[in-house]
């Protein structure tokens, strides 16, 4: 089989798996797990084969046109370059791990069938986005991911948090998708093609008429999908979904799609310096804000969610300085260690019976209960904090050095102001990242207090998946020297200045947090608190659902806990209150959009119920009264019918005679 055929099979297999799973799920429950795991795994293997075939060389393009589509042709096109094949490998790997992990995590879940099918569909859609060479086909995958995320985040739809979160995720991403769609049409009209190669060619030759407008419209969609400020608010709430879904969304599929899209169309964005600056500022705000917010969260998954937003900020920053190689490099390594972090967090939540860091900090020996999760999570947190030689260090250095090149004027793709913005925000974020990573690790695994409850051994597949993902988290960075050839050919190896600087600030952040923790942990014993799931013996999914449902009840907030022993509270000081709520962005949105819309809906409801309905009722009542009057006449007496008939004909006859006389007389 040719590489093209293999590449077509990659998105197709999970799709067929999803369809088969949905069709057969009820009738043959035994096939559900194989149908969930095997197509995804096969897609992963094929993605690896395609990557090896492609080998980072010249891009492979293939297209077929199904039907003529007017002035701008839409084609089923493949575009396989170094970015596409490597991202596809990452997607396949993470999706396979998630599917395997889910077989353990949702062991007893009654809705596992539809869940697995949706995850497969989600994977298929992401692979379609990755391989697609046509913007319209890409959009198809893009929107399928949107709807799948809605369903998967709302998996625990019995809890109000999950319902709200799924709606929010859908609405916020759609909010970005509308300008995105307009931008796509504008871009295709300007470039005269939906093919990405054609669009890029047009952008490079200056064929785009309104680069800034188009780039900003597209950025809105990217910000929604990739959770960038100001459309990032759906992501922390999306933690109400099951942990494997979070891993899938955060590591490989949904949020990566936006970044990948910008990387694909970077020449279009680079054509507008304003767009690059906006992207840089957006990235900087996202990075720093999310770092501060992560430091104040109590839910372990929300910490990770904010860290995802921050890392996505790095990716946007790398794109803002025009280095898509660095961006995709960080995307790959981040995908690996973030998936690992989430899956390990799932194990931790299951073992501890709670998702609250406050409650975990009052448990002794959680690390000994789950040694696999402990070690792999440590590795992943080190990678997140960018400590050498873990993967995150190399990829983050690639981003920072690219920003440095731009700031110092060595690279002319983006304005140097964007470079400086990204560089400074990146260094600041490195400090914050290390701080919240340390806080997470200390609170989760170095708790003191009662013995952690024993919920039995974790399923083997869950632990095995953690170790599989630990390998790239540790070693992927070492490929930095070779990967440059797969991308734009620019070197991805770290430069000395930024490496020393960022590692330094990371160490500082970690140490300061450690000191703060030493200072505050003494307070922990005085204020006992905690929220633990009611059914610790259930599977991970059940425990997590109960933990999410109980968090608000126990602490009064879904995000934070009033814990004086939290080092984040000491470090942030007065900022803590604002950081815990995501800097009140939700409240702002609520005041700006939600309440006016609700008021308008109330008005419409009033108009419909009271005003329109009155007319409708009157329209119904009039004929009914008329009908009642007519019924009164139907008394069944033939003679009265006949009388009325004759009287009527008499009146008619008289009228005719009179009329005839009148006309004759005139």
């Amino acid at each position: 089989m040719t590489t093209t055929t293999l590449a077509v099979l990659v998105p197709l297999l999970p799709f067929l798996g999803a369809a088969a799973g949905l069709l057969l799920g009820r009738r043959a429950p035994g096939f559900v797990r194989p149908l969930a795991v095997l197509p995804t795994f096969a897609a992963f293997v094929l993605a690896v084969v395609v990557a090896v075939d492609q080998g980072g060389g010249k891009a492979i393009d293939a297209a077929t046109r199904l039907t003529p589509t007017g002035s701008v042709p839409i084609e089923l096109a493949l575009h396989l370059d170094g970015f596409a094949v490597l991202v596809a490998v990452l997607v396949g790997l993470v999706a396979t791990c998630v599917q395997l992990y889910s077989t353990g995590y949702l062991r007893d879940d009654p809705r596992y069938t539809s869940y697995a099918a949706l995850v497969s569909l989600f994977t298929s859609a992401m692979l379609l986005v990755v391989y697609s060479g046509d913007l319209m086909v890409l959009l198809v995958g893009w929107e399928i991911m949107g709807i799948c995320s809605y369903f998967l985040v709302g998996h625990y739809w019995e809890t109000p948090e999950a319902r709200a979160a799924s709606l929010k995720a859908f609405l916020v991403t759609k909010l970005g998708d509308v300008p995105f769609l307009i931008g796509l049409f504008a871009l295709a009209t300007d470039a005269g093609a939906f093919r990405i190669t054609g669009v890029v060619q047009a952008a490079l030759t200056g064929g785009i008429g309104h680069p800034t407008l188009i780039a900003l419209l597209l950025l809105a969609g990217v910000a929604g999908k990739s959770a960038q400020f100001p459309l990032h608010t759906w992501l922390p709430d999306a933690m109400a979904g099951p942990t494997p879904v979070s891993a899938l969304i955060h590591a490989a599929t949904m949020v990566a799609a936006g970044i990948y899209f910008v990387a694909r169309l970077l020449p279009v964005f680079a054509a507008s310096a304003a767009a690059m600056t906006v992207l840089a500022v957006m990235a900087a705000i996202t990075m720093v804000g999310s770092g501060l917010a992560a430091l104040a969260q109590d839910d372990i998954k929300r910490v990770l969610a904010y860290s995802t937003i921050g890392q996505l900020g790095y990716l946007s920053g790398a794109l803002a300085v025009g280095d898509r190689g660095a961006a995709v490099f960080h995307l790959l390594s981040h995908g690996a260690f973030k998936a690992l972090l989430f899956l390990a967090a799932g194990v931790v939540i299951h073992a501890a019976g709670t998702n609250s860091l406050t409650a975990m900090s009052r448990m002794d020996g959680l690390a000994k209960r789950i040694p696999d999760a402990y070690w792999t999570m440590t590795v992943a947190l080190l990678a997140l904090a960018a400590i050498p030689p873990f993967a995150g260090f190399f990829s983050k250095e690639a981003v920072l050095s690219a920003a440095e090149h731009t700031a110092l004027g060595e690279s002319q793709i983006a304005p140097s102001g964007a470079g400086w913005t990204v560089l400074i925000a990146g260094l600041l974020t490195a400090l914050l990242t290390a701080a919240y990573a340390t806080r997470l690790w200390l609170l989760a695994f170095r708790g003191r207090g009662a013995e952690a409850p024993d919920h039995g051994r974790q399923p083997f597949v869950m632990n095995a998946v953690l170790w599989v993902l630990a390998i790239p988290s540790i070693g992927f960075g070492l490929t930095a020297g070779y990967l440059g050839d797969w991308f734009d050919g620019r070197a991805l190896t770290p430069s000395v200045t930024t490496a020393v600087l960022s590692t330094g600030v990371a160490l500082v952040g970690g140490l300061v947090t450690y000191a703060a923790w030493r200072h505050t942990s003494a307070l922990a014993a005085r204020t006992p608190m905690g929220a633990v799931a009611a059914h610790p013996e259930g599977d991970g999914s059940l425990v997590e659902e109960e933990a999410i449902a109980s968090h608000t009840e126990v602490y009064g907030s879904i995000a934070s806990a009033p814990d004086p022993a939290d080092p984040g509270r000491l470090l942030l000081g007065p900022l803590h209150r604002h950081a815990a709520t995501g800097f009140h962005l939700d409240a702002v949105y609520s005041a700006l959009f939600v309440r006016p819309v609700l008021a308008a809906a109330g008005l419409v409801r009033f108009l419909d119920r009271e005003v329109v309905e009155t007319y409708v009722r009157a329209a119904g009542a009039g004929p009914r009264w008329l009908g009642r009057a007519v019924r009164r006449a139907q008394n069944g007496n033939v003679q009265s019918y006949l009388s009325a008939l004759l009287a009527g004909s008499l009146v008619l006859a008289a009228a005719v005679v009179v009329l005839a006389n009148v006309t004759a007389g005139s």
Binding site: N637, Q639, S640, S643, L646, A647, L650, A653, A654, V657
Partner: protein, 220 residues
């Protein structure tokens, strides 16, 4: 009746101060006919209504004679007075109509009916008088409705409708038989009289009740 008088008063000033003998006879017979008709529709004794009807129909036969339509007059007497009224009387008896004054011979629709009838009469009289006040019938010359003339036109020009009419009569005959047959011959009081003349039934449906008729007429 008062309407007739009013009509007579109305037509009198328009050149009819010296009516001919035929006209006077027509008027008088007409008044009698109309009176009988009014009695027919107003009397409270049902059998009397039938008898008043005989008077009215007979009066009409005289009017036909005055209009020189002899054949029609005799047919009128034969069929109407001779058979139809008898049929109606049989009907009254078979439905056990009360003998003597019945207080509820008129339905509650009576005043409405009166209004409609008077209004119709007013309108039609006005229209008719208005239309024909200058028309005269020339009754001189040979009689136009003698039996000879009627036979000639009937069998020369109207023979096809005449035959069609015989088919209609046959159909009416069959229909009357079908309608008066009883589906279950054991549940109704009229069964005995119908069963008394099974042979006559196939001959003529209107004759069917005749078996039970004579004793009842006598009792009246």
């Amino acid at each position: 009746m008062s309407a007739t008088l009013a009509q007579a008063a109305l037509t009198a000033p328009q050149g009819f101060l010296s009516p001919s003998g035929v006209e006077i006879a027509f008027l008088l017979v007409g008044i009698a006919t109309l009176g009988a008709a009014v009695m027919t529709v107003t009397t409270r004794q049902l059998v009397h209504a039938a008898l008043w009807l005989v008077v009215a129909l007979g009066g009409l036969a005289v009017e036909y004679l005055l209009l020189t339509a002899e054949f029609i007059a005799w047919v009128q007497v034969l069929i109407y007075v001779g058979s139809i009224v008898v049929l109606l009387l049989f009907g009254l008896m078979l439905t056990k109509a009360p003998i003597g004054r019945s207080p509820d011979a008129d339905s509650g629709n009576r005043w409405v009916a009166l209004t409609v009838a008077v209004a119709a009469a007013g309108t039609l009289v006005w229209v008719v008088v208005d239309a024909f006040r200058t028309s005269w019938i020339d009754l001189d010359g040979p009689a136009q409705g003698s039996t000879k003339v009627s036979g000639e036109i009937l069998f020369r020009h109207w023979v096809l409708p005449f035959e069609a009419l015989s088919v209609l009569l046959l159909a009416a005959l069959v229909g009357a038989i079908v309608l008066s047959r009883k589906s279950a011959p054991d549940d109704t009081p009229g069964e005995a009289s119908a069963a008394a003349a099974p042979g006559g039934r196939s001959a003529a449906a209107p004759g069917e009740p005749s078996a039970a008729a004579p004793p009842e007429t006598e009792s009246r």
